[in-house]
Symmetry: C2
Subunit: 417 residues, 2 copies
């Protein structure tokens, strides 16, 4: 149990860091000097081992072993191996997860598989409209292919009420990308399944940072990315989980040769592979896939209960200090105040959020901004310290008290659209 006094000081934070069972893991990451990186919910920091791993793949595996690497260096097995490495962290069993493609592509496969298994005649997919948009877009892409299929959007507490016998698939993101609110995976899964529907969970903002128990909740399918709290590297391949009970019957339409029963028989017609392998499509980006292993291995070294305990205090402390130090500056807490209902991020709304986030970045505190007014701060217990929270809020308070965020340089939007 980690405890802080009502009015903590920087020294209290340093004491917590000294007592932190995860403290030694920070040295396994490379972080820029003087930067407080609170954006691991967008792109995780670089594991120290990633450099040597990338070098080895380029120099030895590609450069020297060339085509023989598919067997000799296990390239063919990598999607399965990384899936098995990840599985215990999300409550999945061996052979239930592969690391492959992108979250969106994997969501397409999961949706198609789930719809194929849902009761005949049902054509309704229920989602959260405020979800990270790519999930909505991918789902709309699936629905447009199925005559009569409708995507129903609802929000938060309305989800449970919207579940009824017309539903084929409930597709939710476990932790909300903006607010950090956690859905009750067990309760919503049970409710949807009681109505005869299947359930897909997106674990982008929960895998690697809070205990997830897919099989304990009887989840049907799940997807997620590996480049946030799993520190797999920029755009590292995503993962897809399918419960073993669905393996024999599930189908997805992106039927490439890696999903074939015998890829090297070079048969003309598709026959799905047994097991989770039928969720694979084609050749994977080996350099990105191979380096993903470094982040997964570090996450496996942590006890997910320690990670969660630290995460709740990091985020709670951040809320407490921002509200204490910046009370006059109009920040509105968007994330749940109850730590049990909050993922590992804290979001505040502020009309000038964009400029404030830019000013913070200039001051070495990296968070991010999501339109229209959302300032997001992610806390990665594997490398963020309690003292980082203190120092980040100090810099935020300084920016607000001094009005430095009003500098016109901080108002310029990036060219990316």
């Amino acid at each position: 149990m980690i405890t802080l006094p009502d009015t903590p000081t920087r020294e209290h934070c340093l004491a917590l860091d000294r007592a932190d069972p995860l403290a030694s893991l920070r040295a396994e990451f490379v972080l820029p000097e003087d930067m407080i990186y609170l954006d691991g919910n967008s792109l995780g920091a670089r594991p120290r081992a990633a450099l040597a791993r990338a070098l080895d793949i380029v120099e030895r595996e590609w450069g020297e072993d060339l085509i023989t690497s598919w067997n000799r260096n296990g390239w063919f097995r990598k999607a399965y191996e990384l899936g098995d490495l990840l599985a215990p962290m999300i409550g999945a069993g061996p052979g239930e997860v592969v690391v492959t493609d992108s979250t969106g592509i994997d969501l397409h496969k999961a949706l198609q598989a789930a719809i194929g298994l849902a009761p005949a005649g049902r054509r309704r997919i229920l989602m959260e409209g405020s979800n990270f948009p790519t999930n909505n877009y991918m789902t709309q892409g699936v629905a447009a292919q199925l005559p009569g299929c409708e995507v129903v959007f609802t929000e938060g507490e309305g989800i449970a009420q919207a579940i009824d016998e017309r539903l084929s698939v409930l597709c939710l993101t476990h932790v909300h990308y903006k607010t950090g609110a956690i859905h009750d995976m067990a309760a919503l899964t049970a409710r949807a399944q009681a109505a005869g529907a299947l359930v897909i969970w997106d674990l982008c903002h929960s895998a690697g940072v809070l205990p997830v128990d897919l099989n304990g909740c009887n989840a049907d399918f799940a997807v997620g990315c590996t480049y946030k709290y799993l520190n797999g590297g920029p755009g590292s391949p995503a993962f897809i989980f399918a419960a073993t009970r669905h393996h024999a019957e599930m189908r997805q339409p992106l039927t490439g040769w890696w999903g074939h029963a015998e890829p090297f028989a070079f048969e003309r017609d598709f026959r799905p592979r047994a097991g989770i392998g039928r969720m694979l499509s084609g050749t994977q980006p080996i350099l990105s896939l191979g380096v993903t292993e470094c982040g997964l291995q570090l996450a496996r070294r942590a006890d997910m209960r320690d990670v969660r305990a630290k995460s709740m205090v990091l985020t709670g402390l951040f809320i407490q200090l921002v509200e204490a130090r910046c009370a006059a500056h109009g920040f509105r807490l968007v994330s749940p105040r109850d730590p049990q209902r909050r993922g590992s991020q804290v979001s505040f709304d502020h009309e000038q959020g964009y400029a404030i986030v830019q000013a913070l970045i200039a001051a070495g505190v990296v968070g991010d901004f999501r339109a229209p007014a959302n300032m997001r701060f992610g806390f990665a217990p594997l490398y963020n310290r309690f003292v980082d929270v203190w120092d980040a809020v100090e810099r935020l308070a300084d920016i607000m008290d001094s009005g430095r965020w009003r500098d016109p340089a901080f108002a310029t939007r990036s060219a990316v659209t």
Copy 2:
């Protein structure tokens, strides 16, 4: 014009290498000592620059610049930039190509887009049954989603005859993965379009090794990989081309946020991006994508006419020498004898092909084997030399004359299925 006498010697080969306008490019690749690598049609060799590029992405872009790299280091633009870098080599214009996802996933998008643009009511896709299987499988996956859609398989010369007013999409691989035979892109495209169909070309075995003129042939869509003759690295992302005339109307169902008109507006509903960008889905594997640039840059330094001229002599010399030196050993040429109809590979059938290929690999000559009896040798003019052809055939003749291929060690099949 490269010419060889009727009975060339090793010295003739060395003379050709000295006169080769592409000779200097070999030094830009790293190849193992004493290996003759004739498998660039499966996995291209490593560009020397790839190591520094991978290091820079891991150390600086990921490790130091972290999330800011999406703008600062151009991660968001990479799919477009690499597409534009590749475009001139395949006869495409700027803004017609993106590098993204895998060949199979991109083929799914191209098929869906083409079917959507084909005359209403038509539901037939024509392919070559002996095609690389993943194309057939992906097409079967698409067809299974469209009521009444049929995939018709035919072969070689039968393709032109099978084109009629029932056809929606002709989907062909430009150079056959086993035989190396080249389809007449201009004639088949014109014939299919005259019947009202759309045409998709798979350039996996032609991009970077022979002049391709997609727009000159009025192709509708194309896909291909970057890890063969374009030397992008193991599993490097694929490319997709869409002719500009289709950009406004084309649709594909893998509608992720990168294909949205305004990804950072975080709108609830999908609106397709203008231009080729709507062929994108989600976040790409940046490490693999970034390194792909090294191979594309090298290929751009070569004049594709020089590449093609050298390729025809390399493959022709290989056929000539194998037939001269191994006449008694039962090799049957599978590739076209006419160099104009042959891509940059030579395939021989041999009942003991598997063991012979293994014996060759043990002797430092790397080709590959495709069931049931196909020995494939790819010739990459950017790094393969004429003397390599001579030396490879010397080693093959030695293996056959000595019977060394009968060693039981060479009969053991790999565990990969």
